[in-house]
């Protein structure tokens, strides 16, 4: 029988799953994690099987990753999202030497040599430089995340956001609105501030190209632009950046199965 593997990436905001057969995609799904991680993991797995028309007849080798990886006790193996994101990106861009993964509650920079992780850094325990920071700032500006990205890209200038603390930065944003600064300029300032935090981590490991980006924030065009301009390099984006961790988990599963 051909080998079927399943990768589950249970993140802080969303749970992602990928089902592969001999490296071929059978199904991919994304659900909000919600408050009941174990239930979400179970639902995600069932829906993946249904979508891949697997029913109850197959027993894929399952690898769980992400902060909620322990929420999937039915998985055969758990592997950190560091290794999974690395493996996932190598599948799409084998030459990658630096991977930036910005998720809901953390960001990481992974250094790869010939497809292997040789070093990595994660954000300190602080929301600045993560998706959560962008969410809070969008809330302060009373726009959606998509609008935040769009208005930032359209803005001709930017205002500097000096607070690195998320809570203080939000009050700074509110103050800037009160003083009548255009939302687009503030949004661009927010993107720049986030990009600076992430770029500092990249620089700590050294800028090595090709550089790729994964995670939900990679879908935010304004953020990608800000990061590219901060780092002075072009970032390569995989087709579904949010799914890279799940892809990597499934591909690693194929090695262990």
């Amino acid at each position: 029988m051909s080998q079927i593997v399943c990768g589950l990436d249970i993140g802080s905001l969303t749970a992602k799953g990928v089902l592969l057969e001999e490296g071929r995609l059978l199904a991919a799904l994304l659900l909000p994690t919600g408050s009941n991680g174990p239930q979400t993991a179970q639902d995600l797995y069932r829906q993946l099987l249904a979508e891949g028309s697997m029913g109850g007849e197959v027993d894929p080798y399952i690898v769980a990753t992400g902060y909620g990886r322990v929420s999937a006790p039915f998985a055969h193996k758990t592997i950190t999202e560091i290794s999974c994101h690395a493996r996932g990106i190598i599948h799409f861009l084998p030459q990658t030497r630096t991977l930036i993964d910005v998720g809901g509650q953390d960001s990481k920079v992974i250094r790869l040599e010939e497809g292997k992780v040789v070093d990595f850094l994660m954000n300190d325990k602080c929301a600045a430089g993560t998706g959560r920071f962008l969410e809070v700032m969008a809330r302060g500006l009373e726009v959606s995340l998509e609008e935040l990205s769009r208005t930032a890209q359209d803005a001709k200038a930017e205002v500097s956001i000096s607070s690195t603390c998320t809570v203080f930065a939000e009050s700074e944003v509110v103050g800037l609105i009160a003083r009548g600064r255009p939302k687009g300029e503030i949004a661009r300032g927010v993107m720049s501030a986030t990009a600076q935090r992430i770029a500092a981590m990249v620089h700590r490991l050294g800028v090595q190209e090709p550089m790729a980006m994964s995670g939900g924030v990679a879908r935010n065009a304004g953020m990608v632009e800000a990061l590219q301009s901060e780092l002075g390099v072009r970032l390569w984006l995989p087709p579904e950046p949010q799914m890279i961790g799940a892809w990597g988990a499934a591909l690693l599963g194929a090695q262990y199965a």
Partner: protein
């Protein structure tokens, strides 16, 4: 300012005001205190973790942005963060950094004198010229004259006759960081002495305040700084180096005898001195700004703030990242404090 001794070579950057500028001047270097620049510290953030003193971070940033092979970095082991700054500078600029062992007690002057001789050896090696005692004595006289004019300035300041921005410019100038065309030392503009009546006289405490916008806000909100406890402020002006004594001994004795900083063991004397200056000069409040992640000033807070308040000086504590002022929060706090005085 004339420099009669030798031609100027490079710049000698310093962080701790216990390091006598007389020595670097005597070897022809321009002493300059590191000064926080606008635009954050992206380069330093690659070397230091986020929970290290923002002053040290700003210093490394400035060095990485603009230092050359001709420059020197003269540091004291005054705190753990400065020691790590020495490591980081050594890694980026090999052989250009000197780290001085700085004792705390006044009676340890022989150790400091010996360390200053070691520093002179370093400067001699770097400048490729031996120490000339005449040049050192001349530098001491010159620096002493500068401090004399600083003391005159403080006398005017203590009467409320100096605006915050003028004081800021003076501090920059004393630290070798005066922008082009700034006012001559000890001679602030004449109009300064008038229209100070509505101002709230305050005592300003903290390590250092390089950020101009903070002083502008003090100015806007009609504060006037009548006394300060800044590293490079009035405490440094009080150094008095004796002429006629062996120069290294004179320097070591004078610098260790200056009004004590929070790193010394003369804490009771320090607290009394700060309080007395504030009250004697008619301050009606105090603003205490410890640099974030500076342990020395953080340990001052629990003792000094209650004392200031008990002595009738309402005290505002502002935790501020060096060179990273968030204007909205700062304004709200300062404005509310001004209204309460």
């Amino acid at each position: 300012m004339s420099q009669p001794f030798v031609a100027l070579k490079g710049r000698a950057f310093w962080t701790c005001s216990y390091l006598p500028c007389e020595l670097s001047s005597a070897f022809g270097y321009q002493p300059r205190r590191f000064w926080a620049q606008a635009g954050g510290t992206p380069r330093a953030d690659r070397v230091f973790p986020p929970n290290l003193c923002s002053g040290v971070r700003a210093s490394l940033e400035e060095a990485m942005r603009q230092a050359t092979a001709e420059d020197l970095f003269l540091l004291a082991d005054c705190c753990d963060a400065d020691r790590r700054l020495a490591d980081a500078l050594e890694a980026s600029f090999p052989g250009q950094t000197f780290l001085l062992f700085l004792p705390r007690a006044e009676e340890s002057w022989p150790e400091l004198a010996s360390e200053l001789r070691r520093l002179a050896g370093f400067l001699a090696k770097k400048s490729r010229r031996p120490l000339e005692e005449e040049a050192l004595r001349a530098a001491i006289i010159e620096e002493e004259a500068l401090r004399q004019s600083r003391r005159q300035f403080h006398a005017r300041q203590s009467l409320g006759g100096v605006s915050p921005i003028t004081y800021y410019e003076a501090l920059r100038s004393w630290c070798g960081r005066a922008p082009e065309g700034s006012f001559p030392l000890g001679d602030p503009p004449a109009e300064e002495s008038s229209d100070q009546g509505e101002r709230a006289p305050i005592l300003l405490l903290g390590n250092s305040l390089d950020e101009r916008s903070f002083w502008e806000m003090l100015e806007e909100l009609s504060f006037t700084v009548v006394a300060d406890d800044l590293c490079y402020g009035e405490k440094l002006s009080q150094v008095q180096v004796q002429a006629g004594v062996e120069p290294f001994e004179a320097l070591a004795r004078a610098y260790l005898a200056r009004p004590p900083c929070p790193r010394t063991q003369r804490l009771e004397e320090r607290w009394d001195d700060v309080l007395r200056r504030g009250i004697d000069r008619g301050a009606i409040g105090a603003i205490f700004i410890p640099t974030k992640f500076c342990d020395y000033y953080a340990y001052e807070l629990p003792i000094l703030v209650p004392r200031l308040r008990a002595a009738g000086l309402p005290t505002l504590v502002l935790e501020m990242d060096y060179g990273q002022v968030s204007p909205e929060q700062l304004r709200t706090r300062l404005e509310a404090f001004r209204e309460s005085l």
